[in-house]
Assembly symmetry: C2
Homo-oligomer: 251 residues x 2
Amino acid sequence: MNQKGGVGKTTTAVNLSASLAAAEKKTLLLDIDPQGNASSGVGIDKRTLKKTIYHSLIGAQPLSSVIQKTELDYLQVLPSNSDLIGAEIELVTSKHREGKLKELLVQLNGQYEYIIIDCPPSLGILTLNALSAAKSVLIPVQCEYYALEGLSQLIHTISLVKSRINSTLTIEGILMTMFDIRTNLSHQVVGEVKKFFKSKERVFKTVIARNIRLSESPGYGKPIILYDITSRGARDYLSLAKEIISNGRKT
Amino acid sequence: MNQKGGVGKTTTAVNLSASLAAAEKKTLLLDIDPQGNASSGVGIDKRTLKKTIYHSLIGAQPLSSVIQKTELDYLQVLPSNSDLIGAEIELVTSKHREGKLKELLVQLNGQYEYIIIDCPPSLGILTLNALSAAKSVLIPVQCEYYALEGLSQLIHTISLVKSRINSTLTIEGILMTMFDIRTNLSHQVVGEVKKFFKSKERVFKTVIARNIRLSESPGYGKPIILYDITSRGARDYLSLAKEIISNGRKT
Ligand SMILES: Nc1ncnc2c1ncn2[C@@H]1O[C@H](COP(=O)(O)OP(=O)(O)OP(=O)(O)O)[C@@H](O)[C@H]1O
Ligand SMILES: Nc1ncnc2c1ncn2[C@@H]1O[C@H](COP(=O)(O)OP(=O)(O)OP(=O)(O)O)[C@@H](O)[C@H]1O
Ligand SMILES: [Mg+2]
Ligand SMILES: [Mg+2]
């Protein structure tokens, strides 16, 4: 999760979930962004979609009637589309508004080893729902200057959620994304991030390089391991999945 | 403006304003994104900032006491920082909540030829305030697949604002950003966007190429024309400013 836009949240959610599924870990990709990019990233046609997470959050539909299969046996998806914009307005005025998703996820107890939630680029009510329900937060940070600016605000928000709503919330790790080995900027930003997080949290050893195949794959509705298993992007996300599994923490 | 994250909204706001100022048009860069990237993009140190747009929107401070000078004679900035997150919560519960910015801007009548507003990546109350106050909307579209997905939703939102809140709102144009001449994807996306907007709106002739100097310049707090006037990024944004001036429409 990260309120800065375009840092690789969706690309990470889609490709980490697919890589965990390739390692035969039962995984659910939960799309709580009204843009619905994660849903189309795994091949869901949003135009023909009858039920989305909106219908469970607001319409009390059981999750099992909304969850769909994907091309990977161990990966399922809880899709979203622009209906979810309505949920933001409806949730803001209801009582336990940030706990709605957590209540829903009780229906899934034990069915999945990993649930990966893709959030919109804001600290609004949908992202708060995700932070309240989650065990840990993975923070993608783009190797660009503006992406550095929001980091302390982000850490501040996570510690607020931890102290007020979800005391078990931890940081799974900081993931550097769109790293371009040829530019000084990328190396500088990685250095700054490592300095910023020195003692506090874990910055993943895996760094996701900028790779055109990663931005081509959503156009085909396929995660990178199905679109081009030989690509740098596929290797990077498989290595991230391995690192997360060996850290032994479920999200 | 565009609810998709990371498409070049801030980079466009900063560098278009600076290029308009280079053409000696009195310009105000108004930052209404709590991330405050546009403010730091023109050299504002957010840690020492005493007054931001928050203090005018909520605290009734006159705009003239918040506006700051920049290194360019014809460019001033109305800065923001994370205080603005508080404004979202306070505005949502007040009456005429989307008209607050428009009311404020009456104080500036006639002082600027162009006011360029940088919005956050969402369709929330701050963006609504900008759409209600604006004469026209410039829509940056990144040359990537996911950026295509949100276009029809975006156009739908703009026509809703036009019919309900601001009947004079028009689309200034569609700006293709981060174009990479070497990739098929870039050419495909430009083709799709031109097809989508064929008869309706104007897609700018100027296309902003991907250029590392554009992402380096915010680290020095300088718009591209002050950081590296010889760069491709500087040429692209100067050409955009020329195109907008010759279209003769003030934003
Ligand atoms: N490692 C990479 N190499 C090349 N392109 C990438 C990489 N990661 C992401 N992209 C592309 O960059 C763009 C932004 O990534 P993405 O949409 O995943 O970010 P996001 O944080 O989810 O954005 P938003 O804030 O809108 O939700 C997308 O078009 C994506 O295809
Ligand atoms: N033409 C370009 N060439 C290279 N890098 C660019 C270009 N335009 C923008 N960038 C970089 O891409 C990143 C995203 O751009 P920017 O922050 O302007 O997008 P945004 O739409 O304002 O993001 P947000 O949704 O978070 O507000 C920034 O790090 C910026 O420096
Ligand atoms: Mg996303
Ligand atoms: Mg921005």
